[in-house]
């Protein structure tokens, strides 16, 4: 059989299958827009907070003013008691509570270090963190103001007073993703998993479908065509489609959602080629294992969340069991996400991601062999000469 014949037979199998086309073309485009939706506002701000002022003094009003001035906090309720505020929190009317205790300003003048209480629902960590950040900022500036005032009273000149309020300070600098944008955080990694999973589902439906036909003794090119021709046809077809998708994702969608582009285009394409090659052969291998068309979607679907988390960009790898880290390196998306985030989000040189790059090519090699072996095995099982 000639290569072109095999190629067109494979192309026909792929493009006449609604489920495959829906997944590898419709699904990929739909997901590009669906996934970034929750994070469109990028960062957490304007959370509603109830302010319980049990002191009603000048200082407590100043603190309220400073809290309101932070981007994170919006004082939307002024409750008379902590109990009222807590109830409002349970009814979801506010996200947090800030309490200024009784005798706050009196204790302050008596040097008793009164305490401002901040309560937030830590089940929602980002809300909790944002409220805390806002409260810290305003209370600390208030606190520093008082301190400077006191040092001034003690006779130190203004410049000295300002500097003396703490012996040394810490300046934190956000490297990469400077504004803590959630889109920057999630979208690049999620795009890689979408590309891989849709590809695996497509190739899984295809492979499972061929196994089904073999089982039914249905005639077709898959009975006799050289396996290397079938595999390279799939590689060309899926490679072409997903390379285009990749350009669409990392080109158009990235700029549409304002995601940073640090890496050189050549580096992205080079790394992307390794990722797509590894995923295609992984998909061909998986497809050869499925007995029917319908197994691919569930299997691939369930693995998505664990795969995303195994990369270590959400939860540190240091706090994860090693066996999970090792197993996840068998799947292209893990080294791909690790490499891509470093390359494009953190501006690493290509040398720095050579380990990931090599793992991807190594996977491609292994899955070519495994895919070939299993396709051959299935064929021998059903086709009797």
């Amino acid at each position: 059989m000639k290569f072109l014949e095999v190629f067109s037979a494979e192309a026909k199998l792929i493009f006449s299958d609604v489920a495959i086309v829906l997944t590898i073309i419709g699904g990929v485009i739909l997901y590009a827009f669906l996934y970034p939706q929750p994070y469109s506002s990028q960062s957490v701000s304007g959370l509603s907070v109830s302010f319980v002022d049990l002191d009603k003094s000048k200082v407590s009003r100043e603190i309220a003013f400073k809290l309101n001035a932070t981007p994170q906090i919006n004082l939307t309720r002024y409750d008379m008691s902590e109990k009222d505020a807590k109830e409002a929190l349970m009814r979801d009317e506010v996200n947090a509570i800030i309490v200024i205790p009784q005798n706050f300003s009196k204790d302050l003048t008596l040097n008793l270090s009164p305490v401002v209480a901040v309560g937030a629902d830590s089940s929602y960590f980002l809300i909790y963190g944002a409220v805390l950040e806002g409260a810290m900022k305003s209370v600390l500036t208030q606190s520093a103001g008082i301190k400077v005032g006191k040092i001034l009273i003690s006779g130190t000149p203004m410049v000295g007073a300002k500097q003396a309020y703490t012996p040394y300070t810490l300046e934190t600098i956000n490297l990469f993703n400077k504004d803590n944008s959630y889109t920057q955080y999630v979208v690049p990694a999620v795009y890689i998993i979408i590309l891989q999973q849709t590809m695996l589902i497509g190739l899984g439906i295809l492979g499972g479908g061929i196994n089904e036909r073999l089982g039914r003794r249905e005639k077709g090119h898959y009975e006799s065509a050289p396996i290397w021709m079938m595999m390279s046809s799939r590689y060309i077809i899926f490679g072409f489609i997903f390379f285009t998708h990749m350009l669409f994702y990392f080109g158009f969608s990235f700029s549409f959602f304002d995601v940073t582009h640090i890496a050189k285009i050549a580096d992205i394409l080079n790394f992307g080629l390794a990722f797509i090659t590894a995923s295609i052969f992984f998909g061909i291998f998986l497809g050869s294992l499925f007995a029917s068309r319908e197994i691919a979607t569930p299997v691939v679907l369930f693995s998505s969340l664990p795969l995303v988390f195994s990369v270590g960009f959400i939860w540190p790898l240091e706090s994860m069991p090693t066996f999970i880290q090792n197993i996840s390196q068998l799947v292209p998306s893990t080294p791909a996400m690790q490499g891509f985030l470093r390359l494009n989000q953190m501006g690493a040189e290509f040398v720095a991601i050579l380990p990931q790059f090599s793992i991807l090519w190594f996977q491609a090699l292994i899955y070519v062999i495994l895919g070939y072996y299993y396709i051959n095995k299935n064929r021998k099982k059903y086709v009797t000469n």
Partner: protein, 383 residues
């Protein structure tokens, strides 16, 4: 027995029999979900991030800088994994993800501190990994503030000879932070209690589609449904999975709040009732996706699009208050988001049951889709 019950009975038991004989269905209700749950649980089991590697550039190498670095290394959250000679080397380590942050101590740090010119220690943190970045920022801010206060306290104590007054001078206003609910500040509870339901709902939808899809693919639907009691037979076929998935839900609820011992303030029965409604809602939605074309593989693809992104829309990782209207809409059409809200409010605040009625009603509202589902089934079988 009335014929309607006979039909229900028959559908129920023949499905059980099917499950027993089908490798694939058995996999879907046992091994696969348990494996996915176990993986997620294992990943987050530690719950508290500790000993996260950072690197330091010490341009002073004084007693004071060593003291500060010692304090940083002593914190449970970070550990100094390496000492870099230059900032460039240090940043390269961050870029290759070997460390998450760099702490830079300026030259003449000790001298400037003694001269009261307030030197600046800089921490450059990889905030591409937002959560990890926040954990490290928090730990560093705390340790450096503590170390600075230590220095100041000693100075003030020398001046005032009064430890209370010395303390007050360091920080005139205290800040007490009360994490209401989930008081443990543990990420296990935060992530796993939302991740398990997100995976669980995928299984419910997929299994329902598999159960009906295999029947239609084998073209046995006419034989199976006949002309009578079609609705009853649909229900009978769904019921075994309703039980399985409700039990599975109860299983992870008790695992988290029972076995692992996290506090559950509210009512288990209300939560479990909500869970039961959620299972039914998803089964109906799955059928709704299936009847769009009665095409097995296509229904699976639709089920995938619908269920896969759910976790991001729950509002647990990213708050719903900052979501746009489309995201809120998508969130609303996922029963699991209402269920997780119910689970959190019951587990954490033990909210009044009356406050939960709207969540339960929202989940139950998906039942209305059963009407078009039955109509489509009837017209399909009649044609």
């Amino acid at each position: 027995m009335k014929p309607i019950f006979q039909a229900l009975n028959h559908a129920f038991f023949s499905e059980l029999n099917d499950i027993k004989n089908s490798y694939y269905k058995l996999l879907l209700i046992t091994t696969l979900p348990i494996l996915s749950f176990a993986l997620v649980i294992a990943m987050f089991y530690e719950g508290v991030a500790s000993k996260l590697p950072i690197t330091v550039v010490d341009n002073d190498k004084s007693e004071l800088s060593r003291k500060l670095l010692f304090n940083i290394n002593a914190s449970s959250t970070v550990k100094i994994a390496s000492t870099s000679l230059s900032l460039k080397d240090a940043i390269a380590l961050v870029k290759s993800s070997k460390v998450y942050a760099v702490v830079v101590i300026p030259p003449h740090f000790q001298r400037d501190t003694l001269l009261k010119t307030q030197p600046k220690v800089r921490a450059m943190i990889n905030t591409q990994y937002i959560l990890i970045g926040k954990i490290i920022t928090g730990a560093l801010v705390e340790t450096v503030a503590y170390s600075a206060a230590e220095v100041e306290f000693v100075e003030d104590l020398v001046l005032t000879q009064n430890s209370n007054l010395a303390l007050h001078t360091i920080s005139p206003i205290g800040l007490q932070i009360t994490p209401f609910f989930n008081t443990y500040k543990n990420y296990f509870l935060f992530l796993v209690s939302a991740l398990l339901p997100s995976i669980w709902q995928i299984f419910i939808v997929i299994t329902t589609i598999v159960s009906f899809g295999t029947l239609f693919k084998a073209q046995k639907e006419r034989e199976y449904f006949g002309n009578e009691y079609i609705t009853t037979k649909i229900i009978g076929k769904l019921l075994p999975y309703t039980f399985v998935y409700t039990l599975m839900g109860i299983g992870f609820l008790f695992y988290i709040y029972g076995t692992l011992g996290w506090a559950f303030e509210g009512s288990f029965s209300v939560t479990i009732f909500g869970m039961f409604l959620t299972v039914i809602a998803y089964q109906i939605i799955a059928l709704f996706l299936f009847v769009t074309g009665f095409d097995y593989a296509r229904a699976l693809s639709l089920g995938a699009v619908y269920t896969a992104p759910a976790f991001a829309f729950l509002g647990v990782t990213f708050p719903i208050y900052n979501m746009n209207s489309f995201a809120l809409f998508w969130r609303d059409i996922l029963p699991v988001s209402h269920y997780v809200e119910l689970q959190i409010s019951q587990a954490n605040y033990g909210a009044d049951v009356f406050l939960e009625i709207d969540k339960l009603l929202t989940i139950a509202a998906f039942f209305l889709l059963f009407i078009p589902v039955v109509m489509r089934f009837k017209s399909r079988l009649a044609s």
